[in-house]
């Protein structure tokens, strides 16, 4: 039996913790990066496509976890109808394309985990992250690699101990995402008020399980 590592709790800047009780980051580092999707994962994705239909996509807003992300989006100045939450983005893709389209092992793992749990997941290259990950506001003069100009001060970012790795629910810094050379991947889940701990754990384990398969 394989020994499982535990997920780690990321840090959240104190001012954000006070402002958004319930905001948290959990992550797990797993061996390997992305690869071609094995046949059985494609089959699982196809089964998920059959199970997830249009009415379920319409009803997502009624479910507590997708609703919690929608509310948090509103709280931080995003419009979930313009920039869909991760689960709604995946559901929209399913409705538009008639199924969950297989892209790569990592993308498929995230799709399966996001749809099954509703939790917002991201992946970063573990080899290019320094220390523990967390959520904070951007500092004056700070930018996102690969993106021209500075970030507006106070932008919410997922960061390691040295620099922002990506916007919270947005773009990932150039070179910080999973690439073909990646040998270790960090799966991160952003938890907001209303999303239970067990759903976050389940989401990370689902994605990790698919990645290891």
């Amino acid at each position: 039996m394989r020994e499982e590592a535990a997920t780690e709790a990321g840090w959240v800047a104190p001012e954000l913790r006070e402002e958004f009780p319930g905001l948290a980051l959990r992550y797990l580092s797993v061996d390997g990066g992305s690869a071609r999707t094995p046949r059985h994962v494609k089959g699982r994705l196809a089964d998920l496509s059959n199970r997830f239909s249009g009415p379920q996509a319409i009803n997502l807003r009624h479910q507590p976890i997708p609703w919690a992300y929608r509310v948090f989006y509103r709280h931080i100045g995003l419009d979930p109808d313009e920039q869909p939450t991760p689960v709604e983005a995946v559901a929209l893709e399913r409705v538009k394309r008639g199924g969950f389209i297989s892209r790569s092992l990592l993308d498929d793992a995230l799709t399966i985990a996001i749809i099954e749990s509703g939790v917002a997941l991201r992946a970063f290259d573990a080899g290019r992250a320094e220390g523990r990950l967390g959520i904070r506001q951007s500092e004056p003069g700070e930018g996102l690699e690969g993106r021209p100009g500075e970030l507006p001060q106070g932008t919410l970012v997922i960061a390691d101990e040295a620099r922002p790795l990506g916007l919270l629910f947005g773009a990932i810094a150039a070179g910080r995402g999973v690439r073909p050379r990646t040998t270790r991947t960090i799966l991160t889940a952003v938890q907001v008020k209303g999303v239970p701990d067990i759903a976050v754990e389940e989401a990370i384990w689902l994605a990790a399980d698919v990645l290891r398969s």
Binding site: L16, V71, L78, E82, T155
Partner: protein, 202 residues
């Protein structure tokens, strides 16, 4: 504003450290900070409630199309101030009000259309060539009711009218290229999908 919006959540732990600090310092600045944080907290709760109501309306409005649900972003992700949260709340409330009015207006029209379908079925000759679709009565699908003459021109001359009910949406699978690159014969496209698969593999 609904009563629930004005409820105050008891035991909000996020405010306790500031209250304690405020008691120690006793400064006016801290009071302002506390007041602002409470205001932001209340506004966020109101936004959550309005978002729930908008979501319920969105679901109940399906399959009606063309209703604007967007509220607009404020350049996030970032911590919004009181004024910005108020803007989000007000925009949500306005959108909810407008969407409710639109859904209500359409509901009335759909009810009239349903009445018209019943009248059409009872007296088709009074509604010659009138076509009412599922969309007109607020239901999903492609079915429609069409008042048409029986036996074509003879029915028109004789005044034999009836309401024909369509059989629904066309099949999702239409004519398409097989993997061999040839178009299937028409009879092949009418076979069940298994037959097409076996034909393709052959």
């Amino acid at each position: 504003m609904p009563e629930e919006v004005l409820e105050i959540e008891a035991g909000d732990s996020s405010l306790q450290p500031i209250e304690a600090l405020d008691a120690l310092l006793g400064g006016a600045g801290r009071v302002d900070l506390l007041t602002e944080r409470r205001a932001r907290h209340d506004l966020r709760r109101q936004i959550a409630l309005l978002e729930r109501r908008l979501g319920e309306l969105f679901t109940s409005a399906f399959p009606r199309q063309g209703i604007d649900w967007r509220v607009g972003a404020l350049g996030g992700p970032r911590v919004l101030g009181v004024a910005e949260l108020e803007r989000v709340r007000d925009a949500l409330a306005t959108r909810l009000h407008e969407a409710r009015a639109e859904v209500g207006r359409r509901g009335e029209i759909e009810a009239q259309n349903r009445g018209m379908v019943e009248a059409m079925i009872a007296e088709p000759e009074r509604y010659r060539w009138v076509l009412v679709s599922n969309e007109d009565v607020g239901e999903p699908g492609c079915r429609h009711w069409h008042s048409r003459p029986r036996w074509g021109i003879l029915g028109m001359l004789m005044g034999w009218w009836r309401v024909k009910l369509s059989s629904g949406c066309p099949l999702a699978r239409g004519l398409r290229l097989l993997q061999t690159g040839t178009w299937p014969a028409k009879r092949d496209t009418l076979r069940p999908p298994q037959s097409i698969v076996s034909l393709t593999l052959a």
